[in-house]
Symmetry: C2
Subunit: 244 residues, 2 copies
Amino acid sequence: MKNIKLTIEYDGTNYCGWQKQKNGVSIEETVENALIKVLKEDIKIIGAGRTDAGVHAKGQVANFFTETGIPDDRIALAVNSLLPPDIVILKSEGVPMDFHSRYKAIGKRYSYSIINRRMPSAIMKNFYAHVPYDLNFEDMKSCIDCFLGTHDFSAFKSTGGCAMTSIRTINYVNLFKDEDIIRFYIEGNGFLYNMVRIIAGTLIDVGRGKINPQAVPNIIESKDRKLAGITAPAKGLCLEKVYY
Amino acid sequence: MKNIKLTIEYDGTNYCGWQKQKNGVSIEETVENALIKVLKEDIKIIGAGRTDAGVHAKGQVANFFTETGIPDDRIALAVNSLLPPDIVILKSEGVPMDFHSRYKAIGKRYSYSIINRRMPSAIMKNFYAHVPYDLNFEDMKSCIDCFLGTHDFSAFKSTGGCAMTSIRTINYVNLFKDEDIIRFYIEGNGFLYNMVRIIAGTLIDVGRGKINPQAVPNIIESKDRKLAGITAPAKGLCLEKVYY
């Protein structure tokens, strides 16, 4: 028996999310079914975390146990040949038996991408939130640092999550602009349900002038979801990396 | 009667190309049909140039004549509401009656995008050529300048074009690398059939070590298609801009 870690990239557009659901096809079951075909064993994969419908990943992680004789690093190629082109196993590698993609994760990095121009994008339509209003980038940038550190992020979570506590530690944030593209990066030890999308939505509302950038620390402190901004669309969100 | 210039972005993945064809749906007819519905007139659009099946555009240009009372700059929004999301009119504007998107064009800018890593991309699969072999970026970069200037580009055209001459002038080339993405830009007064894709394919063959970078000027001079590299896949190509 060996424990295999997969690093997975996917375009989440056509899936109901990572996790198996009654309605719609999930990334999890698609990868699992391809593994079952390749390895001819009953495989259960453990994902590092769920991503919602329409959310993408460049570095989702999952692990599973197998008896296969296929060399660890060849499993990726074999499985890719059976996966649809919007899911790609970037890497397969053997890891210690006690590696658990969810419990051993110490942090995650997400990006949130916005295209800020009058017309939507034909080319990047599934990977960027389209914001047709003028966004003040300097105002947005001026308030990102207040998300750093350890806070109760209750103002930035949707109902429906099952976390025991709303306290999380954020250790990296950044915001970049390249012509009409704005991209936000955030790294932390964990994220509440919809947390990155609500932070991104709050930054969008700051950019539009609907939220004063100086009010953002107070919004965090308030723990009141109603004071934070919109939940930005799923398609702008990408799970970039899981840290162990 | 007025003459309207359209600037058009499209994801060419699901189309048979710009031009109307017996088999498959073209960008041209899709835009034309939307215009006919919005303007309630029999509209014929004139494109600045054809793009092949799977080729994208961020700045294709077309023009057409109309009697409509809809303000020039509002036509884009009205037509976008009827277009599929993979075609977006970025701008509609009134131009002098003698403006002709093809005959008045003085130059075009294309990009060619490559993802250079072992595994293909799930997220950018329709917009990048996937090259799984190691590419030597410095070798590729070292030979791009020899495409500059006025040359007979017969070695870099496919049969099937209907150009009177194979002489073209290239006034800008550049090659960028950002992690596993390599992007080539080229600007000139015109391009032969498949010319950018064959230049991109030649650069890929240089990067792989199949063509010596110092041989590229001789390949241009030879006018022999067999000496140039592969025709790189359509999906990496994007018409960035048409100059007037």
